[in-house]
């Protein structure tokens, strides 16, 4: 789901652009360190492959079919940092050349799909990709890469004040779940085909990771996502809080200066509160990702 311009409110896209810049910079530096200059054509051509993968339909049953989204598969074959760079390049080309996704919203789309989506898709493989649960880890990677990106996109739209009723949200979550499961199945099938063609296509993770560590990391990521989603789907609580606080702030100026324009005074504060909640949630996710990246990086180099 590529968010076009005009959908996100200014504080949301501004924050996400500011978040995406250092995150993308970090991914680019990591990818540059892992890949010598020789591999630049490889990354570009793999991006073209992801575009071309849309040409091949996977029959699901009935008349419906799906196609590969690809961020999880890229991270298994190129490594997460390079996969992230390829996804960023894809999103940039899509928004510039095909008007698929906005320019100001590019930061949001990069954050959802190329940063958090890729990390969430790679995490299960990194943790269990060498052990017994390998197939499950690959499947889960595909599922997470789509699901996490879609949930983030919906929360950003909700924080931006786009009204969605409960039924709409329910239907879209159902659709997300189906497409995420489909992505998992396609990722696993293509992964197996690749491995039988040439095992060197796959970047094997080092060894089987601790179960507890993996579970904690997964729980942290999903908690962060669900937390933001919950905060944005239940504005009632937030609004109620704003209302009570608004009444409180309204009461004071009423005493201090009876001429205070409290209608205008109240609105920006509610807006600020909403934006603040959004920013805090995104900051939390960013912190979690940064921490995770640091830990993963240290383990890799150790």
């Amino acid at each position: 789901m590529h968010i076009p311009d005009g959908f996100l409110s200014p504080p949301v896209w501004a924050t996400l652009d500011l978040t995406a810049v250092p995150a993308a910079g970090y991914m680019v530096r990591r990818a540059q360190r892992e890949f010598e200059e020789k591999k630049v054509p490889l990354l570009g051509v793999m991006g073209a492959f992801v575009f071309a993968a849309q040409m091949i339909n996977f029959p699901v049953g009935g008349a419906t079919s799906g196609h590969l989204v690809g961020s999880a598969l890229l991270s298994f074959t190129l490594g997460p940092a390079a996969a992230s760079v390829v996804m960023i390049a894809i999103l940039a080309i899509q928004s510039l050349v095909f008007q698929d996704g906005g320019i100001l919203a590019l930061g949001a789309n990069i954050f959802n799909m190329a940063i958090v989506g890729v990390i969430a898709g790679y995490l299960p493989f990194h943790l269990w990709g060498a052990g017994r649960g390998r197939k499950a880890a690959i499947f889960m990677g595909g599922v997470f890469s789509v699901l996490v990106a879609a949930l983030l996109a919906v929360s950003e739209l909700l924080i931006s004040g786009i009204a969605m009723s409960g039924t709409v949200l329910g239907v879209s979550f159902g659709l997300f779940a189906v497409s995420a499961l489909l992505e998992g199945a396609i990722t696993l099938a293509v992964f197996q085909a690749l491995e039988s063609l040439n095992p060197h296509f796959i970047k094997q993770p080092n060894a089987d990771r601790g179960f507890a560590l993996g579970l904690t990391a997964l729980a942290a990521v999903s908690l962060a996502v669900v937390g933001v989603l919950f905060a944005s789907t239940h504005p009632d609580g937030l609004e109620k809080l704003a209302e009570t606080l608004g009444i409180a702030t309204r009461a004071k100026p009423l005493l201090a200066s009876p001429l205070a324009d409290y209608e205008a005074g109240f609105l920006p504060s509610a807006w600020l509160r909403k934006a603040g909640a959004g920013l805090t949630g995104l900051g939390l996710i960013y912190g979690a990702c940064a921490l995770l990246g640091r830990v993963v990086g240290r383990r890799r180099s150790a």
Binding site: P41, G44, I103, A163
Partner: protein, 239 residues
């Protein structure tokens, strides 16, 4: 394929085409930011913004109807959300979504249809985007059409053999096809690299003409960013 149109448009020559890529990028960002922050009296301002964009389209000698149609690719998405917003009892928000997304798409289209992609990426490079990322984007764009065409041929070949249907294990067949496409792309990337190195590739692309940010470019930024900003501020203070 439809992007060929964009290639042809971007190689035209007009006042807008000749402006430095950086000037056009800055103007686009300013325009998009103004559109995104407009909410009061949007109906009037949207008309004004549209007139500005149309003036730019005409002065760039682009086909007006074609440009308007191409920018409409954003409409299915925004109309869906507009319908959702409308049904939730916010018709004004719905109109804002459609208007803003269409104007933004048209503005972005104006940038890419008056700037060849190599120049655009070079402009982004001088504005501080990492060169590594831009190289990847450049390669992606150069080989996009080659690999997509290959994918299309493979689908055709599969259909000719009666495959890619559910009954005959089509899911696994499709996965195998993608695996083969992946392997071919991988091989192609290595071929590309070898032949580029043998022709003296230094690790970055050379541009034939050097870009210069001149007086006309500065004036272009001032007009293209100033007019919508002034209109938006005027509407804000009057309202």
């Amino acid at each position: 394929m439809h992007h060929v149109v964009l290639e042809r448009w971007s190689r035209g020559s007009s006042f807008v085409h000749r402006r430095d890529a950086r000037a056009k990028i800055l103007a686009l960002l300013a325009f998009l930011a103004v559109v995104a922050t407009t909410s009061r009296s949007f109906e009037w301002l949207a008309g004004f913004y549209l007139l500005l964009l149309l003036a730019a389209v005409i002065s760039a000698r682009l086909p007006v109807a074609g440009a308007l149609r191409r920018a409409a690719v954003v409409l299915p998405f925004s109309l869906t959300f507009a319908a959702i917003s409308w049904l939730s009892g916010e018709p004004r928000h719905a109109a804002l979504l459609v208007g803003k997304s269409y104007l933004s798409a048209l503005a972005a289209l104006l940038l890419v249809s008056t700037t060849p992609l190599p120049q655009l990426l070079r402009g982004l490079d001088t504005l501080g985007i990492p060169g590594f990322l831009l190289m990847v984007a450049q390669f992606l764009y150069r080989y996009l059409f080659v690999i997509v065409e290959q994918g299309r041929r493979m689908r055709l070949a599969g259909l000719c053999r009666g495959g890619l249907k559910r009954r005959s294990g089509g899911f696994r067949a499709a996965a195998g096809a993608l695996g083969v496409l992946f392997a071919r792309s991988y091989d192609r990337a290595e071929c590309i690299h070898r032949s580029m190195v043998s022709r003296g590739f230094q690790g970055h692309f050379q541009l034939l003409s050097s870009a210069r940010f001149g007086f006309a470019d500065a004036a272009f930024v001032c007009v293209a960013a100033g007019l919508p900003l002034a209109a938006s501020l005027a509407a804000r203070f009057r309202g």
